[in-house]
Amino acid sequence: MDSALIPKGVKRCPIWQFALGLGIVGAVLLWGVYAMLLCWFKGLNQTNMNDYYGFALWIWADLAVIALGGGAFFTGLLRYVIGKDELKNIINYAVLIGFICYSSALLILAIDIGQPLRGWFIFWHANVHSMLTEVAFCLSCYFGVLTIEYLPLVLENRQLDKVPFVHNLTHTMHEHMAIFAATGAFLSFFHQGSLGGVAGVLFGRPFAYREHLFIWPWTFFLFTWSAAAFGPCFTLLVTRITERIAGKKLVKDNVVQLLAKISGWMMFTYIIAKILDTAYWAFTTAPSLGFTLKDFYGTNGFYNYGWLVAEIIVGGLIPALMLITPKIRANRGMLTLATVLAVIGVCLNRWVMVLQVMAAPVMTFDEWALYVPSWQEVATTILPVAYGVILIMISYRYLPIFPQEAELNPITPEDAEGVQASGDSEPVLATAQA
């Protein structure tokens, strides 16, 4: 049964090994589900959120996964709208990662609202003056886009593809994917931006408040830009991790190099804009509101200048320079290091824009309000990670995610004999050798 579902021309691990992996990650998933049920049945008193922290760990996780999932919309834009044809060899994985990130974001929001049965209120009783309403609309619609983009991949499963209607549907969806990809890019531009805009319009929070262009604060554009820049880095990083675990190359170097180069230049231009934005905020905006940079970084042991350096230099400028330098980018170790730094950098940016905003004192009698999440918050934040790992495991095993895998890893007669003898897989030599 299992072997009949595995794509032709590729080799997969034995079923017991796969089941063992699923079991281990599944245990973590169950821990998260238990914490989620506690939050739903007992209420948000299971968290350490309070009057200072209406936005806490969950919202950071939300913003972080949405930024990291930005690889899907940007790679889709490059592939289907701009016409970078080489990226067809990584777009499937970018879509899968995006699907995981956005479904995780929606799951976290379903826990965070405390009353998931009233989740539809945001559509029916919409507050049309809130950027978060726009975020909810675009997020839900874009998740629909990602589902539409992921669906043909599921339908390409070896057995499903034998059904003529399914085969035709997959074919038609592939043909018209540019429409969905363009819609996805449009939706992403707005919800990524509005997530940044939420921070930038907080005129009562001088740490977050930014100058505007028309109705949009600079953070609107910086968030969209950073998601497009850093999202592909996460796709590359997860691809690298998958390759290490699978013990084989899955995507050709020219594809990885192209995406890394584009991502690097996006990051480089973003980080210049971010530095200019930070400088203007530090020397003009904040002083006009009665604050200095020292008030935000020099009066607290936890939130010190190290955060600024870590976010902008270590997690922004350095990986950007690494990725735009061909010699460094060509080195796989350095490329992986650059993507790790970039992922940390964008997560730090989202942390700062959610949690440091809440922590920084506003009134003269205020003090820094630090926050430690409860175990339920931590478990429900790890839950989507476990879910993501499981979905990747299942998708990698049964779906043709990497079009170049068979070509890069031709199955030898010994492989075919060994695997067929154990009854674990059914590789097809003709396809692999083609």
């Binding site: 049309v128 609309f137 003529p164 209607f165 035709n168 074919h171 969905f180």
Partner: protein, 53 residues
């Protein structure tokens, strides 16, 4: 929210927000409907039996 809901007001905010939502949902709905109908018609014509990508 629809114009027949009691909360609806004919102002720019409602038209932009809700109009944008319906517009996006319409594109996705019509797009996927088109794909399903075309696949059904192709199948009825006998296409897709043995062809593989």
């Amino acid at each position: 929210m629809f114009p027949f809901n009691f909360e609806w007001i004919w102002d720019m905010s409602h038209m932009v927000f809700m109009g944008g939502l319906w517009y996006a949902l319409s594109i996705l709905g019509l797009g996927i409907t088109f794909c399903i109908v075309k696949a059904a018609m192709d199948t009825a014509k006998g296409k897709g039996g043995t062809h593989h990508h």
